[in-house]
């Protein structure tokens, strides 16, 4: 199969909450293996757009094509299985589980997730060890491996952000939607997180699509930026083009 240049194609996506059109006819395409940014003032519909793409928002109009497949109306677990992962603005962790268990959860093809196989450890233990090894690498890369035994509700807010990143990365997504990966994190740290995102992207070819309010950091690492305002994409282009765009400046200042 010939892979198309774009991994994600959105066509005319609209989503209304009662009279409010949160997303209003959005069409965009994200290039495979790139890091794309999605910026815009608060309430411009960015998170709603992510929810629509990842299947957590319910009914909407328009079409979402991911990696050559139409994924409209698919339950979000199937979308993840196709290779499209996401994180949430406020980390949604499994607070009754340890950090390691959180990370390992999303591992794909875990035989032990079948209740008929789970009681026989010899059937899934080798897979579990491989997964644990990968989880360990992932956690080391994000510097959270020493927390493995801690309950995920007992770690700091920044560590929660990193843990959430590790959660999705373990599922080997082809593309990741990150909803403000550095919100509530100190500026220096935002740098680190973006650096590791870029490293991951260049090493594995994973596509990233990132909502971010920290434009300086974002612009340093992304290849392409989409600007959203009042539910519409008002501009897109390379970071340096966006900075000069009068419409974008107006949208932000007019807030």
């Amino acid at each position: 199969m010939v892979q198309s240049e774009y991994i994600l194609n959105l066509e005319n996506i609209s989503k209304a909450f009662g009279p409010i059109r949160a997303v209003d006819g959005v069409s965009l395409s994200v290039r495979r293996g790139s890091i794309a940014g999605l910026i815009g003032p608060n309430g411009s519909g960015k998170s709603t757009l992510f929810n629509v793409i990842s299947g957590t928002e319910g009914k909407f109009s328009g079409s979402v094509v991911f990696d050559g497949k139409r994924i409209n109306g698919m339950p979000s677990h199937k979308i993840f299985a196709l290779g499209l992962g996401r994180t949430f603005q406020t980390p949604r962790l499994f607070t009754g589980m340890t950090v390691l268990e959180n990370v390992m959860l999303a591992g794909k093809r875990q035989e032990g997730e079948n209740p008929l196989i789970a009681p026989f450890p010899e059937r899934w233990e080798s897979g579990e060890e491989d997964l644990a090894r990968r989880a360990q690498e992932q956690m080391k890369a994000l510097e959270i491996s020493q927390l493995y035994e801690k309950n995920s509700s007992e770690i700091s807010g920044g560590q929660m952000k990193l843990l959430q990143l590790a959660n999705v990365l373990i599922g080997d997504p082809k593309m990741l939607l990150l909803d403000e990966p550095t919100a509530g994190v100190a500026p220096r740290l935002a740098q680190d997180i973006f650096a590791s995102i870029e490293k991951h992207c260049r090493e594995t070819g994973t596509t990233f699509f990132i909502i971010e309010h920290r434009l300086q950091v974002l612009f340093k690492h992304v290849d392409h930026v989409f600007v959203m305002h009042q539910g519409r994409i008002i501009s897109e282009g390379k970071p340096d083009e966006i900075v000069k765009n009068q419409e974008v400046i107006d949208a932000y200042l007019g807030e």
Binding site: G85, F94, L105, A106, G107, G112, P115, A186, A195
Partner: protein, 397 residues
Amino acid sequence: MVDLIDLVATFATFYGIYAILAISLNLEYGYAGQPNFGQVLFYGIGAFVAAIAAANLLPLFARLPIGNICNVHTSFPVRLAIGSNDPGIAIPVWIIGLVLAMIAGGILGLFLSYPAIRVKEEWYLSMILLVAAEAFVTIFQNTPQLACGIFGLDGIQNPFYWVSNTYSNSSFASTELGFDLPGIIYAAIIMAFAGICYLVAQKLANSPYGRLLKSVRDDKVAAESLGKDVAKVRRQIMIIGSIMAGLAGGLYVFYIGVAVTDDYVPAVTFTIWVMMILGGYANNKGVLAGAAALTLLQRGSVEVSLILQASFPGFSSNVLIYLEYVAEAVILILLLMYRPKGLIPETRIETKAYQLFDFRKRDTPDPSSKQETQETTDVSDSKGKSASSNIDENVAR
């Protein structure tokens, strides 16, 4: 001495059955977060299905007419006689009864998981299951064709009753045995079943499946977004839990001898919940402990009130039993307030994965101190490497 043996056997019987129910509820609520406020329904359906199966199969296997299973003059003595004397019939019928009880529980669990997954607010599910349990009682009480209505289906003999006949007929039984040998055997068997259920629950919990269950409990949306089919998991665990509860019902009805709706009222569900919360949800060992404590309380109050009634003729034997229910309610309220995690709190999911990390822990002196030192080091030049320590530092400010 003989009394004590029988007392222990009775305790073991009730403990085994309660333990199975508590383990089942713990899988459903403790691990998977499904608030089953209608657990007695699955327990009851198991009991009734097993009783109906026994009442029909005992005469059938003995090549006798089945007739009206509710007739106390014809059908009742016939099945009692077959069940008491013929192990070749009693035991297969018992096994079939248990299997059918499990199947019935499982099917009902599957059936009720559909509304369970559909409802919006969390407590609606509790309401629906509670209603289902009450509807079950209403239907069985008012439909005598099912299982003899309010009188219940009587005459279900302990499948090991023949042992006492065999023993008294054997050459070394010079005297009357004095204690209830079939009862002791059956108690041991119930305990064995409880042990199996415990092992199954432990194996399920300490596996990737246990992770899956807990993730569904903690955050359904997040689990779904990480590729987990939440609806499927919720359906599976309802089926697994209901199979266990159905088994408990089947085991119980062959012990108590009669399937009657009075035994399957919401107070039983409540007791099971107290056991689980007392022991510690999402901890099978804790749940076993909780079941032991509550069984002791219940059997204790029954035995003590029997003694008191024998000593003081005016004593109403029910008062202590009522007060025991009051005690359960007080225990639960105190637990919810002061120790919601129970006696033995939830632990981590023990799989081989931890070995990898625990092994490294032994290498490095102390992970917590290491973490602390990292937090205080200057990380300005280690970009991307010490992300977490950086975050710690900055969030702390």
